[in-house]
Subunit: 339 residues, 2 copies
DNA sequence: CTGTTAGCGCATTCAC
DNA sequence: GTGAATGCGCTAACAG
């Protein structure tokens, strides 16, 4: 039917008015009569007009788009977070540009530049496991593009951040195992440049300390916390001289990898080894209730982070404030007692 | 350090040359001396120049961005497909704008318009379960924006499509159950406006026919194939007069829901009821090998669909060809025999 | 090889 | 309340 590209000029010509009026009408400016507005909007619909956001953004230097960089969209936590982000962003009139770093620093760096080149109004990041410095975020700061970290944040102060209390999560997870009777508790930890893993580890140590259980270096297995890392760590755990009877994993995926390995070896969960990991709904749901998990409120974090970002974007005139929102983790016990 | 917005004019001024030359140099045009190129690139880096893609795209009417609409990014099949799409797109010099319809027609319609307004160079869609007509894709055609359907396609000819042979998948799944000794095989089916579900259903019927097993309407449970739908169907299956001993589910999620329900009720899989579903790696991996699955080559489909789309985009001068690529499904048996 | 000019589509001054 | 003119930053056409 309608051909290719209809511009405000085309509809102005047809109505024998000026394109500025059309522009104003379509932006619902109060400086246009309702009558002419109606006429213009009717004509626009009829002609199949569609605003060219590129031109509009070029002119206003606002894209109403926010960029988000996560390690991997298929991870349950991140897809929940994205759901929260999209919902909130949509309500505030923003679109979301979703990007995956795939845990690679180089990709993360490129993505920041891509987002910058696309002139997004703000950026939300959960850093990759390889990210140890933050130079690549400097460009955002130079351009005055608001940035919010969520979940996997950095330890440099002065950034806006939404996170959960990971120290507390680690502490409670470990305490839970201790209270249930575990004596030798191993820990699967992640790269220490990522604050969440560092803090979960600290929580683990603190819980041991509280219950006067000696901390042993060899009980901590550091890896990138993929499924196979969990399995490998499980193998190492079985090879230890000490008989391990509890395990706290710093993420969901590694916990699952470890659990699988243990099961293959005929080890009973939680009877022989009790595990506390993090929630991963699609998987948690189909497992027998052998895993106690810590819930990560991804959706909620997404919402909060987006609100924070949007308020930064829209108050850019004022000095950008630095804010940190801390959420409480919650332990989900799938059974009344472990041992 | 560097301030806000540096344009090609700024760097032209600094070097006492014309901005067109700068533009040409930055686009690596052969019509600029290597010397001046080097000089310009050096200056650009030094000044922290970053191309404004909005302006560039406005001028060239090419964004080098492709939009993709899937029902839900967290679904294993789609996240694999997205991985394939991103990889291929990146190689071809395109960015990917990922959107989720969340199985809602209205969202799908809005997303098409959003992509259009953002002037993406092409679009890839796997339709929602609610999508029964295709008017909302008309705008793409009018604008000459190439469109490729993958996996969940439509039955209207004249569109580019990448799909797997779903009839064959349904047939082989059902045949597998029959050969393993199942006599009463139920089927979990999805909305029949979605071709893949229709064809899987047809394959199921054809297999029954081949083995002279009477088809019974009450053995088919139609739903939106969510996890809870699978569970509900499982409940209905147990309430039947006929004792069902085999189940073919038209997707992975419903199969998992059904399996959980059966297990809760103490029914042994596959001894009491054998199930064939579709692969869902993160979940398949942690289950005991009780589920035979059909592999959906998401990554491969993503690659193929992207290649198809890119070739359409880049040959837009010629008439747009219509092509359908059909992939073979492959049955993955996790154990040698079921019964 | 490089400079000049014009315009992509829109929003925003400034007039009236 | 509406029209005319200008420019966002870039690239393409045409000169030279």
């Amino acid at each position: 039917m309608e051909n290719n590209k209809i511009t405000i000029h085309d509809i102005a010509k047809k109505l024998n008015i000026n394109s500025s009026t059309v522009s104003r009408a379509l932006n619902n400016s109060p400086r246009v009569t309702q009558k002419t507005k109606d006429k213009i909007i009717a004509a626009a619909n009829e002609m199949g007009y569609q605003r060219n956001l590129l031109a509009s953004s070029l002119r206003t230097s606002r894209t109403h788009t926010i960029g988000i960089i996560v390690p991997r969209i298929s991870r349950h936590f991140f897809s929940s977070a994205i759901a929260g982000i999209e919902e909130t962003a949509y309500e505030a009139g923003y679109h979301v540009f979703i990007c995956q770093s795939l845990e690679q620093l180089e990709r993360e760096q490129n993505l920041v530049n891509t987002l910058l080149a696309n002139r997004v109004d703000g950026v939300m990041v959960s850093i990759s496991m390889e990210t140890e410095n933050y130079d690549h975020f400097q460009g955002l700061k130079n351009r005055g593009v608001p940035l919010v970290f969520f979940d996997r944040h950095c330890d440099i102060p002065g950034y806006n951040t939404v996170l959960i209390d990971d120290f507390r999560a680690g502490f409670e997870a470990t305490e839970h195992l201790i209270v249930q009777g575990c004596k030798n508790i191993a820990h699967l930890s992640g790269p220490q440049n990522v604050e969440i893993y560092k803090n979960r580890f600290k929580g683990y140590q603190k819980a041991l300390e509280k219950y006067h259980i000696p901390f042993k270096e060899e009980m901590v297995f550091s890896s990138r916390l993929m499924e196979k890392d969990g399995a490998e760590s499980a193998k190492s755990i079985l090879a230890l001289n000490t008989k391990v009877d509890g395990l706290f994993s710093a993420n969901d995926v590694a916990a699952i990898g470890a659990m699988q390995y243990f099961k293959e070896k005929g080890i009973k969960i939680p009877h022989d080894i009790a595990i506390v990991g993090f929630s991963n709904e699609p998987i948690s749901g189909i497992m027998e209730p052998s895993l106690t998990t810590i819930d990560q409120p991804g959706f909620e974090m997404g919402r909060l982070a987006t609100n924070l970002l949007v308020s930064q974007i829209e108050n850019k005139a004022k000095e950008i404030m630095k804010e940190t929102i801390v959420l409480k983790p919650s332990l989900i016990e799938r059974r009344s007692s472990i041992k």
